[in-house]
Symmetry: C2
Subunit: 458 residues, 2 copies
């Protein structure tokens, strides 16, 4: 990738008011690339540069700017400048920016916009966050079924500047119900006189406005689409989601899954780690950590109950960290695999039996290996700590059996908890790995002391 300009040169152009050069650079380069440049400048410089280019290009570059810079620029704009910017932005980016404005700015700007745009913003912002409706754009191309391929291409050419994509066009009936779609490739390959209804694909893959945004994105991924049409429950075309939005949705959902898995709450937006304040980071992390620390006292209570046993067998305390860690590790492994497979729609809760059976067999193999490790440790390293009256074998067997049982229980809990949460209609990633670790600590310590007691006081 060639970068034909460097930031100092860019600044010089600005200082010397070389608007023609700036305009040419900004209008021939990729808007994301120009946005990278502007992000390195002061807000007033960035704004000066944006004013050199045509309003459409300025609006496009604006959508790629960092959220902080966007916010700062928006605060400097007059009502009319802001309205102009809004009317040049694509429908989905516009509504995102609109939703990020403070209430008073929102109310101020609406009357300054054309009625069609106002209604478009109201309509798009009415869908709840996380639905397909909330991420779709209304800048799509439609065609009637009864025109020819050549007419269709002419129409798309006329509409192209205002549409998010002209590579897919949707065919609707007189009630705007989605009846088919054609790609620009189909139109170019078809004979110019061929009617759209003859060329169009009728089995359109689509989403409903109320669908989960991740389901919609996964459809784009599965069917390799450039755009996915979104309809009302009655089949009326409402908008489209484009391939680039699908990438962003999937990245965001992945960040969310990973953060939830580590018991981090909050909005799970991407690209804001350094921008987020210490207070916000603290707020997102403190909740679960405190809950789990309090829950960890239950493990403490179990240890306390068996204090007599520990005082008699100092060796038991030695093996506690290994027991709790190993349970947490094996449980987190199975939980992660199940959460991921559920997120990728690879398994559903109907596969619960198959999953549990698989995890049971995996956990038995893991339990065997880990029990051997524990036995080895007792045999080789703890032979001098065995209390009088007990054989090394009995103590070793007791500790290995406890660890084996813990591994099986933890692995199965790790698989079952996300499945249970998913079957209740919640996001399985909330069975965070730290929560699971704390739960299997409790079950594990209980198993540990109960087993050891069983073996040593039969």
């Amino acid at each position: 990738m060639k970068i034909p300009l460097l930031v100092p040169e860019f600044r010089e152009f600005l200082a010397q008011n070389k608007t023609q050069e700036l305009k040419e650079f900004c209008e021939t380069s990729s808007p994301a690339l120009v946005a990278d440049f502007l992000s390195a400048l002061e807000p007033n410089e960035a704004w000066a540069a944006l004013q050199c280019v045509s309003p459409q290009v300025a609006a496009e570059i604006f959508t790629y700017l960092e959220p902080d810079l966007q916010k700062e620029l928006v605060e400097r704009l007059s009502r009319d400048q802001l309205a102009r910017l809004f009317s040049d932005m694509s429908a989905d980016d516009r509504v995102d920016l609109f939703k990020s404005l403070p209430e008073d700015r929102r109310e101020m700007i609406l009357p300054a916009m054309a009625q069609a745009e106002r209604e478009d913003i109201r309509r798009l912002s009415s869908f709840p966050e996380g639905t397909a409706g909330s991420v779709m754009t209304s800048d799509y191309a439609t065609l009637p079924a009864d025109i020819s391929a050549a007419e269709a291409i002419n129409r798309l050419r006329r509409e192209a500047p205002d549409r998010e994509t002209i590579y897919y066009a949707y065919v609707v009936d007189e009630k705007r119900r989605l009846v088919g779609f054609v790609s620009l490739k189909d139109l170019i390959l078809a004979s110019p006189e061929a009617k759209i209804e003859k060329i169009m694909h009728r089995d359109v893959v689509s989403a409903c406005v109320n669908d989960d945004q991740e389901d919609a994105a996964r459809k784009i991924q599965k069917y390799d689409l450039i755009a996915l049409p979104v309809t009302s429950p009655e089949g009326v075309l409402m908008g489209i989601i484009t391939h680039d939005d699908a990438l962003d949705i999937i990245t965001q959902e992945q960040t969310e899954d990973m953060e939830k898995l580590m018991a981090i709450t909050g909005s799970h937006e991407t690209g804001i780690y350094l921008h987020m304040s210490v207070l916000e980071h603290f707020r997102n992390r403190v909740g679960w950590v405190v809950v789990l620390a309090i829950l960890g006292l239950v493990s403490g209570y179990i240890v306390q109950r068996y204090e007599g046993l520990i005082l008699q067998f100092g060796l038991l305390a030695t093996f506690m960290p290994m027991l709790t860690d190993t349970g947490g590790n094996t449980g987190s492994q199975s939980a992660t695999l199940v959460v991921r497979a559920l997120a990728l729609r690879e398994v559903s809760t109907r596969d619960a039996l198959k999953i549990v059976w698989k995890e049971f067999r995996v956990s038995l193999s893991l339990a065997l290996v880990l029990a051997l490790v524990a036995f080895g440790r007792v045999a080789f390293l703890a032979r001098n700590c065995i209390p009088a009256g007990y054989s090394l074998w009995t103590v070793g067997l007791a500790i290995s059996t406890a660890l084996g049982l813990q591994v099986v229980t933890a692995t199965l809990l790790g698989a079952l908890l996300p499945l249970a949460v998913a079957s209740l209609g919640h996001d399985p990633a909330v069975v965070a790995s730290p929560a699971l670790t704390t739960i299997v600590d409790i079950t594990g310590l209980f198993i540990y002391f109960a087993t050891v007691k069983c073996f040593l006081w039969p």
Copy 2:
């Protein structure tokens, strides 16, 4: 989405040899949808259905079939059938299938293909896994700079059936060096006589064949591209990566990051949880778990060293699970955030100081809250367990201080370890959360006993 056929009907068509109906259904529906249908059938039925449609469509549907079914079908094909299938597949899917074949099948099939295809396969399969070169396709459209927009459209129309996408065309010089690109939208909007060199964008965003595949995919995401050109280090156009591949790469990399974070090894392919054998699952999980269980014995050793202290203060064992868990949780949280921010190219190792400073402040706030929780627990629940000669205040203060120090250490280690691994050029996700948990167990127990000893035997 309408599904115009059901599996039983599909079977009936096959049984009654209604090839015309089958052909029509398969050729007008989305190939991914047809592949879904075929996956529900027996392999011989699926193969019979594929033989009703044109070889090109059959090859396209084939690429969407589940890997298991693909493998089974490939085993049934004669050398010539397989060669035919290969020649109709797109270049990147073909090379993926080729690489999955056993050695003897690979050698058998190469001579049956045309020379150009043979060389294409050899070239594409020569790039190491994980590079941009290994995921690119050679089915892209190029244009010379000196033709007109109308001629360009005609050329793309002729080449369309063989190209992965005709929405982006790349402009190359006489040495096939990449000099620009035009979109089909640009061509349609331009006046028919305009020369390509006048319309083309010269600042082409591109990747090099040796780049990481994830970096290439992130470029597609950042610049909202339909395809990204991939060049040799000398700038010669070698292939393209399309938007749908970017989605798959990002999903796969994410699965890899998540699984690595939970100490799961293996190939990290997506969509194979249920297909993978128990043995493979076991192999992918056992390594780290055993290493960590052995490392967990170091924690055990520390506990053993302080056995005298525990025997004197039974209370200390009670707080051990809370101490180790909380350290693991806070450390995993910061590690996850840093690993994710590094994966999304949001921060780099150069931001290490900023990250550590942020995490330090967050950890101080967390430490304060958690120390209060621990103190509360001692004050309200353990007042009867304080050994004679010590005040509740001293014991409470000792335990809270230890927990606070543990939280700060664990959070900083969680941030620093991935940064250190990344700065050595390795994947930061290998600092798995279980490994981190085990490490902060060791540091935590050491801090715990040392602090308590300090307070209680000053």
